[in-house]
Symmetry: C2
DNA sequence: TTGTAGGCGTTATCAG
DNA sequence: CTGATAACGCCTACAA
């Protein structure tokens, strides 16, 4: 069932059918109706492959994320898909994991599928070493690359991010203002936003006249139980802290569990701040104060930026939105 | 950069290039190498649209789910995408929401993209009224339709599900054995698996000689705060219960919050059982006992079944796997 | 306003 | 083992 069948049954040429299909105004109303009727009648659907072949696009965007089951990324993927669909685009989902080799491989794969653009969700895609990002900049020579929560300055790469530095800086300031002195910082990665958060922590500490202590900055796996065990271990080794700031809600949940196991009162003995304001933050007891980076806004901004790029507009390659704090019960805020 | 460029530079015909591309054995080794070298040299990538046009497939599967940010569905989407990619398929993600009209619209849309199969994730896709599922059976006349956690008997529809009936039946039995008498059942939907769970509850109650009380079966939104409020309200109205079984972890989290607010001791005053064994179940305090329906197994089974179907094998259209209980702190199990 | 014809980049069927 | 050539279904100048 193709354009020829329609043209035959409607008694017109395929060009006319194609015109009707594409809303070309140069078709008389009676003809248009005739064609439309035939299409409805035989249930005609244009073949996207043929269309893609001619136009060299299938209106498809590749969404890459490390792990779409992570609460934060899952949210992002959801909002992205929704907004893309509203704009008439389909989404190829691609979960890469955290391994560089796979990220490279999958980006290549998406490219070979001729997607119209690629969205990298989560800062885990930007490595500290510049050369490890070259596969991304190379891709940008072909199609627009959108980055969520990461920043890299390169033509045709557009980044939308939260001011993670400021958010952590502010929250640590507030903790210090309230008399906390030994603030533990838990993080999972040294990605772009990971480093931003970390330097927000460090700068706040030092600008308040405190000393940055290496053993108060702990790298953890993104796992509740394992992180709790790490905290127990550090505690046993004599590490003391009266507040925890985490780069992910999962780590903060671990801190809540830790506090409970140690019989510490939250927030009095120990204040805890999570990150992402994910669904997890409403599950713990006490409920988690968490930095909210507005995933939905982040995603909507990304898509509208992308649409402008695809329309050929000149678009700034960095958009920053501010975070705020969802204040719950693990702090005295 | 197309097959003609390669053929020219390699001094062979496009047919030969195509053969090399597709691993056709009827190519001499020297020729193969020559072609391969040229391809590498000029960085040739076959055009998937042209290929799709000829073969009428782009090796793409449509994944439909109501809301990919729901922890259970997010997990499922993740495992599906991973397994599909291993099999050489790409995934179109499509979040439909819970509205029937949209589900129909989006399924149609995926169909028009000529996906090779469609996976419906979550029982929310199967409506109680048969005619409301006709868009699904109609789709199955065109391509295989895989259903996760739902069952409908129709050619070319393949269902993979947990024995939700049995799981709830068993867990309610255990609660009764331990002396619980007023067991509250919270659910979000009357989808296929929703009804299975519900009848597991009812049958367990009545087969233990207890009376099924309508007001002990409460329909809730899939939201922690709202559900907690509903519980508070029911409590005020004088409803009494000493156990809660929920069709989703979110609802069980709400029950934990409720118990705390009421000063009830969990599990002594009130036992709570969740469903899906999602990441949430490890976040609450006390941690949630939850029925584990093995998302990963569910998804892997679905994909391997799908692959067998696409290979033209005869495959049973219903596969059931058993659940088990992740025992944590909200029960005395 | 409508129709004709060429091109998009493959794959597959025949001949040789 | 290799090459010519016809599909695949659509879009779009260019003609009429």
């Amino acid at each position: 069932m193709n354009i020829y069948d329609v043209s035959e049954k409607a008694g017109v040429s395929i060009a006319t059918v194609s015109r009707v299909l594409n809303g070309n105004p140069n078709v008389s109303e009676p003809t248009r109706q005739k064609v439309l009727n035939v299409m409805k009648e035989i249930g005609y659907t244009p073949n996207v492959f043929a269309r893609g072949l001619g136009l060299n696009t299938m209106h498809t965007i590749g969404i890459m994320c490390a792990d779409s089951s992570d609460p934060f990324l899952a949210n992002a993927v959801y909002y992205l898909e929704q907004n893309l669909r509203k704009c008439g685009y389909d989404s190829f989902l691609c979960c890469t994991g955290y391994d560089l080799i796979n990220k490279q491989k999958y980006l290549q794969l998406l490219l070979s599928k001729r997607v119209d653009a690629i969205i990298l969700v989560g800062s885990s895609f930007l490595e500290a070493a510049k050369k490890d990002n070259s596969y991304i900049t190379a891709a940008a020579d072909t199609i627009p690359v959108m980055v969520i929560n990461g920043y890299i300055n390169h033509p045709n790469i557009y980044c939308t991010l939260c001011d993670d530095y400021q958010a952590v800086y502010d929250v640590v300031n507030r903790l210090i203002d309230q008399g906390r002195r030994d603030i533990l910082y838990l993080y999972t990665s040294r990605s772009y936003s990971g480093l931003q958060k970390l330097s927000g922590y460090k700068n706040s500490i030092s600008s308040n006249g405190l000393i940055i202590q290496e053993d108060l900055m702990i790298s953890c796996p993104n796992d509740i139980t394992q992180t709790k065990d790490i905290l127990m271990e550090q505690q046993k080794k004599g590490l003391h802290f009266d507040a925890v700031v985490a780069s992910e809600d999962q780590l903060a949940v671990a801190a809540v569990k830790f506090a409970k196991q140690q019989g510490l009162s939250v927030p009095d003995d120990i204040a805890i701040v999570g990150y992402n304001n994910s669904i997890l933050s409403g599950c713990t007891d006490p409920e988690l104060t968490s930095i909210d980076n507005h995933v939905e806004t982040l995603c909507m901004t990304t898509i509208s930026t992308l649409m402008r790029v695809l329309d050929g507009n000149d678009v700034p390659n960095k958009t920053t939105i501010s975070n705020d704090i969802a204040e719950r019960e693990t702090t005295n805020f």
